[in-house]
């Protein structure tokens, strides 16, 4: 019994000292510090990171959205609302076209299903992350830029 008592004691002290060795090792090696100084050192997020939905515009201010509303249907929580208008093209034919691409960032859960559903790859999810604001109404966005047009050749 006495033997076990002492054996236990020695084992206990050894195990505790081992743990103390590790914390001391980290205490004296500041190189291992992993803290990222967030506001001063902004992290670079991965390309694929889903931050917000963005409608791609090229240099001629043209986008690829035909207003087919498949992203609106694919969205689980009504984040996207597409308003269409009737447009007359050069041939004189009437055609449905995008008027306003409404995007509720405050409802978005970043699931990426809209991007999957888009047949023309008009939208993608940007890797931005600083979305917090004091007023939730600023999160309601219109994604198509002023005066933007549909790229030619996209049906």
């Amino acid at each position: 019994m006495t033997f076990n008592y002492i054996k236990d004691l020695i084992h206990a002290i050894r195990s505790l000292l081992k743990g103390m060795k590790i914390t001391l090792k980290y205490f004296f090696s500041p190189k291992r510090i992993i803290t990222q100084q967030y506001p001063t050192m902004k992290p670079v997020l991965a390309e694929k990171f889903r931050g917000e939905v963005v409608l791609i515009h090229d240099e001629q201010n043209e986008h690829k959205c035909t207003g087919c509303t498949s992203c609106e249907i694919a969205c689980p929580n009504g984040t996207i609302k597409i308003v269409t208008k009737q447009e007359v093209n050069e041939a004189g034919k009437k055609k449905k076209a995008l008027d306003v691409f409404v995007y509720h960032l405050e409802l978005c859960t970043m699931c990426g299903l809209c991007v999957e559903a888009c047949p023309t790859a008009a939208i993608y999810m940007k890797n931005s992350y600083e979305h917090s604001t004091f007023d939730r109404h600023t999160l309601l966005r219109k994604l198509n830029q002023e005066g933007s047009k549909l790229q030619s050749g996209i049906e």
Binding site: L16, M20, T23, Y26, F27, P30, I33, T35
Partner: protein, 336 residues
């Protein structure tokens, strides 16, 4: 002259304690940060030095709130009691040869006696808060602190026996030819280990922080305290650590005396060049570092394990240690 003294000493002590309290909080945060591979406070001031000042300001500016269903008198009394104790305990501490308020002839006994009062403030706080977590925390601390008092007292007794005095100045003087810990007597080393464990428990520090036990009782006995009253508890905890570590330095590490090696006159002269208070504070913070090191390494003990450690291990061990030390004295092994 004496009147000036009576005005100066409180001011000096209040200033010293405020600075020590703030520095200890800063030190704790930095120590734990480095052990946890973090940086710790680094925004306010250079290396975050002013972080604790900012925190104190925040605590002062916090609402002085007290809940409704409390015992008003006791609730307000507890933090006052908690903060008075370290102030009283500082009386016999010798920061340097002459920097001592009162070299009372029972200095060590004085500290052990008054430090045990801290449990009363915790019990009052826990009872007056009218909160279950506080109550459980307070009762735990009651069992814990009084238990660890015993082995702490016995550990101190070993040194008292060796230096044959209770007077702080004489205990320090007995170490003029070498600190007790360096003289290498086995009873002293054992009693130093017991003393380290005991002050960790007496100050309610992890792994013995059952009174607070964040993951069990949310905040333990000070659950219902906020603002400045909480700050007083917080400060008192750190000041208690400081005082008890200072006592440890006085007992085992030669107080304010510089580090000397025998037969190395050159080295000893260089050591003497460093002022005594710096030596004292350096040693105190070394001990405090060890206590912090405990906290950020070990998990918390359970209440029964805590009491078992005291009553089944530390108390018999310290009693035996005392007897062993006395036998050594009797056989004249101790070089006086």
């Amino acid at each position: 002259m004496t009147i000036l003294k009576f005005i100066l000493i409180p001011i000096i002590i209040i200033a010293l304690f405020s600075i020590i309290g703030m520095f200890l909080v800063y030190m704790e945060r930095k120590v734990c940060a480095f052990m946890q591979i973090r940086i710790g406070p680094n925004r306010v001031g250079k290396f975050g030095m002013l972080q604790t000042v900012a925190d104190t300001l925040k605590l002062v500016l916090k609402e002085n709130f007290s809940p409704k269903y409390i015992d008003k008198f006791l609730y307000n009394l507890a933090p006052l009691l908690a903060i008075i104790i370290p102030f009283v305990l500082t009386i016999p501490i010798a920061y340097s040869k002459s920097w001592q308020i009162w070299d009372i002839n029972i200095g060590v006994l004085f500290i052990t006696a008054f430090s045990s009062l801290s449990v009363i403030s915790i019990l009052i706080a826990g009872w007056a808060s009218n909160n279950k977590y506080s109550m459980i925390g307070a009762l735990r601390s009651g069992a814990q602190i009084i238990s660890y008092e015993l082995s702490g007292g016995l550990a101190i007794l070993t040194i008292v026996m060796f230096s044959q005095s209770l007077k702080i100045s004489e205990i320090i003087a007995s170490q003029a030819n070498g600190w007790w810990i360096i003289k290498g007597h086995i009873p002293v080393i054992v009693s130093f280990c017991i003393y380290m464990i005991t002050i960790t428990a007496e100050c309610n520090r992890a792994p013995f922080d059952l009174t607070e036990a964040e993951s069990e009782l949310t905040a333990g006995f000070h659950t219902e305290y906020s603002g400045m009253k909480f700050a007083l508890f917080f400060l008192a905890e750190y000041l208690n650590i400081f005082i008890l570590s200072a006592l440890g330095v006085i007992l085992y590490l030669g107080g304010w005396q510089p580090f000397h090696l025998p037969n190395l006159l050159e080295f000893n002269n260089i050591m003497d060049f460093i002022p005594a208070p710096i030596w004292f504070f350096f040693k105190v913070f070394l001990i405090i570092f060890i206590i912090m090191w405990f906290r950020w390494t070990f998990p918390r003990l359970r209440i029964d394990q805590l009491l078992k450690l005291e009553w089944h291990f530390l108390l018999p061990l310290s009693l035996l240690n005392l007897i062993f030390g006395f036998i050594l004295i009797m056989l004249n092994f101790i070089v006086k």
